[in-house]
């Protein structure tokens, strides 16, 4: 029982990340009709906003380390600690939440530049062209990050009060010793909130209504005198922010390096395909579903029957969905079926 609960939580965590990335992907596809292979890179750039913020806060001066006698060794002491003492130390410890403040404007800007500077020229081109150009863009962005931050994963820690584990065994009556890392719980709650905000915006605001109308019938909305293109550009920015925030918050779970976006991109595309291209609900549903399936497939009981199933389960599901229901779980009839 404990392990089922824990694997379920693991699944929700992964699912949260998949859903956030897939939501952005499918939003962009639904509005702009672009298959954006650079979307994973946006997740990665978000993660590196957290790294950049951490590096900014820990700008240091080198001080001689007297405890090393063999040779001249130096310790790095952050300016913030020198200027503000313990308060400086705690600011550094909270760098991940603080970096959200940097990530939102940074990702909006990056999204805007990406859309205006490159992607808009490919609206009318074939999907194959779009994939090639965005994939190329993803590689360029990756290499820029690699030159700047190096190839190694950079550890980023969660704020001290939530760096440990929550005693979920006691909460759920599962007995002692069943714990779950706080930050992973926070990640799930965070992704649920972001998803709710995006859905709320699309569902309950006039702006969102126009965007949804545009997704249905772009021409008619245009004829009504609305500059739908402008709104779609804003949607691209929104998708970039969502992916970026997903990246920022993921850094304490897995130390980011320049390939983290690509790792997620492939899975997120599978999520979009399973959920249905252009279906927002489908992306979220499939994100959580595949995250949970992947976690359960890693249980030893399952692996003893199907060895290696944890590595392929997601693709297996995708194959079955494509064969049985090519439009995806919640996809509109006709999409990918013609």
């Amino acid at each position: 029982m404990d392990s089922i609960v824990l694997q379920f939580l693991n699944g929700l965590d992964k699912g949260g990340a998949y859903a956030l990335i897939a939501l952005g992907l499918t939003l962009v596809f639904g509005t702009l009709g672009v298959v954006n292979f650079a979307h994973g890179a946006l997740f990665m750039l978000g993660a590196f906003c957290a790294v950049a913020m951490q590096q900014l806060l820990t700008l240091s001066v080198q001080v001689k380390d007297e405890s090393v006698t063999f040779f001249d060794a130096f310790k790095e002491v952050p300016y913030l600690e020198i200027w503000l003492g313990d308060f400086g130390t705690s600011i550094i410890a909270w760098s991940v939440p603080i970096s959200i403040l940097l990530a939102i404007p940074a990702m909006l800007l990056i999204g805007w530049v990406m859309e205006r500077g490159l992607i808009r020229f490919f609206y009318k081109r074939s999907h194959a062209d779009q994939i090639l150009v965005t994939f190329g863009l993803a590689i360029v962005l990756q290499e820029i990050i690699r030159i700047w931050f190096g190839a190694n994963p950079i550890p980023v820690s969660a704020p001290p009060p939530v760096a440990g584990s929550a005693d979920i065994g006691a909460w759920l009556g599962l007995g002692a010793g069943v714990v779950y890392p706080w930050w992973r719980l926070i990640y799930f709650v965070f992704s649920a909130i972001i998803l709710a905000v995006v859905f709320g915006m699309l569902q309950f605001t006039t702006y969102g209504m126009v965007v949804r109308a545009g997704m249905r019938d772009r021409e008619t909305v245009g004829l009504l005198g609305i500059n739908i293109q402008k709104r779609f550009t804003a949607v691209f920015g929104l998708a970039a922010v969502v992916a970026g925030l997903a990246g920022v918050m993921y850094t304490p779970i897995v130390p980011p390096n320049y390939t983290i976006g690509m790792d997620f991109l492939v899975l997120s595309f599978v999520v979009v395909v399973v959920g249905g291209m252009g279906s927002l609900g489908g992306a979220v549903l499939a994100g959580f579903l595949l995250g949970i399936l992947q976690s359960f497939a890693s249980m030893n009981e399952i692996k003893s029957i199907f060895p290696g199933i944890d590595q392929i389960i997601i693709y297996l599901v995708a194959v079955v969905v494509l064969l049985v229901r090519p439009r995806g779980l919640l996809g509109r009839a006709g999409v990918m079926e013609s």
Binding site: D2, S3, L6, Q7, N10, D13, K14, D65, S67, V68, F70, F71, D72, A73, F74, K75, R146, A151, N152, P153, P155, G164, S165, G177, V178, V179, Y180, P181, R184, I253, V254, P255, I260, D263, Q294, S295, S298, M299, N300, K303, D310, Q311
Partner: protein, 464 residues
């Protein structure tokens, strides 16, 4: 000791070495000993030196080039960066620059501090990306394009095995860096490949008695294993050694290399009935899996009425640095640690520390030593001709390199020396003082019969 030194001070000519090695091989052949020295080899000793690899085309100029093939990206990039630092330092010392480091303590040594055979040592580097195909491609480039006469590097046993067999085909000597799989000098051993680093078998033999001493003989272990050659042999070695002492194994689960998030593999440990988690991971994988195991409460857990324990059979200071507090109190083994007090280790630490502001890692030590050993073998052979250099390394006994008296066993090109059992230090006295040496396990305890792992070294003269 004095005897040996005096003997070494007499200059060795190539002719005398050839004579010596011919005499010994003939004797061995006559005694028909286990096929260690194949009979056809006797005739090779008389044969003219024929072109092999980049000999003699790239060894006749005023300088020679060594190829340093290390992971500059990927899961083992930290180790790779430190390996590269060590190689650069070794080149400096070979060329007579700097304070000489372990050149001053290494015995018996024919090194002169004037390059190798009077030729200036230069180097090129390649990025293995911790991938076998990339590593082979960069090794090939360094040999074919840059004219490297020796390739050295790691990390990752998958890479080492792949590059080693390429080097055998190309007739280029490969001095392995950090590679810990039994296969490197076991079933995949090659005539042109040499390993100074210890292996998984030795880790198991050294660590198991300490584990039994600290945690008792009634334990149930759960293995998480990196899914490639090193992980498999490490798992097997620790399993065999610990089961021999009475431990049971609950499960052994393979995880993909570079998984990042190990949560889905760690949660099943919680109620598997195991009371020890053995992490057969290295580098970033180990940092991630250990940190996550601690986050999931494994270290505070009680199982079967005992404290739950985590063991990391192979670890290094670099990993300890990455893992932070999670590593404290955890047992494992290491090839070498900078805190060792012998003259050689201290000379190396001083030299490396002054150059880079950090003490060297175990990866750095093995790479530095390998470079010096190769150079010394060339000096001893008096030629760059690979078969003669190989013969100078085979069965070579030396000291003053930080691990006590060491033997390069001829039968499998594996070095035998003491193994360190270490523990993550609870109260470090400095930012680098992260491992405490629990026991220096004597070489005798980790020796084994080379035939247990099978494999063939292959010919001195590669088939062309």
């Amino acid at each position: 000791m004095t005897d040996r030194k005096t003997r070494l001070d007499t200059p060795l000519s190539r002719r005398s070495i050839l004579k010596g090695s011919l005499a010994s091989t003939t004797a061995l052949g006559a005694l028909s000993l286990t096929g260690v020295a194949p009979l056809h080899f006797v005739s090779q000793a008389w044969a003219e030196e024929q072109p092999i690899g980049n000999f003699p085309s790239k060894t006749s100029g005023p300088s020679i080039t060594l190829g340093f093939n290390v992971p500059q990206t990927g899961a083992y990039a930290d180790e790779g960066a430190d390996e590269l630092r060590a190689y650069q330092l070794a080149v400096k010392h070979l060329n007579g620059e700097g304070d000489g480091g372990m050149m001053n303590t290494f015995t018996p040594s024919n090194l002169t501090g004037k390059g190798i055979l009077g030729k200036k040592v230069e180097f090129v580097t390649g990025d293995t990306q911790t991938k076998s195909d990339a590593a082979r491609a960069s090794a090939k480039r360094m040999v074919e394009k840059d004219g490297a006469i020796m390739i050295t590097g790691g990390s990752s046993s998958g890479v080492a095995v792949a590059v080693q067999s390429l080097c055998q085909e190309m007739g280029i000597i490969f001095m392995a860096g950090l590679t810990h799989s039994n296969d490197t000098t076991g079933k995949d051993k090659r005539r042109y490949g040499f390993r100074h680093f210890f292996n998984a078998y030795m880790s198991g033999e050294a660590l198991a008695p300490i584990l039994a001493e600290e945690y008792g003989t009634d334990r149930v272990a759960y293995h998480l294993t990196a899914d490639y050659t090193w992980g498999w042999t490490q798992e097997e070695s620790i399993k065999n050694a610990s089961e021999a002492l009475g431990w049971k194994t609950a499960a052994a689960v393979r995880t993909p290399l570079g998984a990042g998030d190990f949560s889905q593999y760690i949660t099943p440990v919680l109620n598997s009935g195991a009371d020890v988690l053995i992490l057969n991971h290295y580098g970033k994988d180990m940092v991630n899996s250990l940190t996550q195991a601690v986050q999931f409460g494994l270290r505070d857990k009680q199982a079967n009425g005992k404290n739950f324990e985590i063991v990391v059979p192979l670890f290094s200071r670099l990993m300890a640095q990455g893992a932070g507090d999670a590593i404290k109190g955890i047992l494992g083994t290491t090839n070498w640690n900078w805190s060792l007090q012998d003259d050689a280790s201290q000379a190396f630490v001083k030299s490396f520390g002054q150059e880079y502001g950090n003490p060297p890692s175990q990866a750095a030590q093995t790479c530095y030593v390998q470079t010096l050993l190769y150079a010394n073998a060339v000096e001893t052979a008096g030629t760059f001709y690979p078969p003669e250099v190989i013969k100078a390394l085979e069965g070579f006994e030396f000291d003053g390199m930080g691990n006590g008296p060491t033997l390069y066993r001829a039968a499998d090109h594996q070095c035998f020396k003491d193994v360190l059992v270490v523990r993550g230090k609870e109260n470090p006295s400095s930012q680098f003082d992260l491992l405490e040496v629990v026991k220096i396990v004597p070489r005798k305890q980790v020796e084994y019969d080379p035939s247990i792992f099978g494999g063939e070294l292959g010919p001195y003269i590669p088939a062309s």
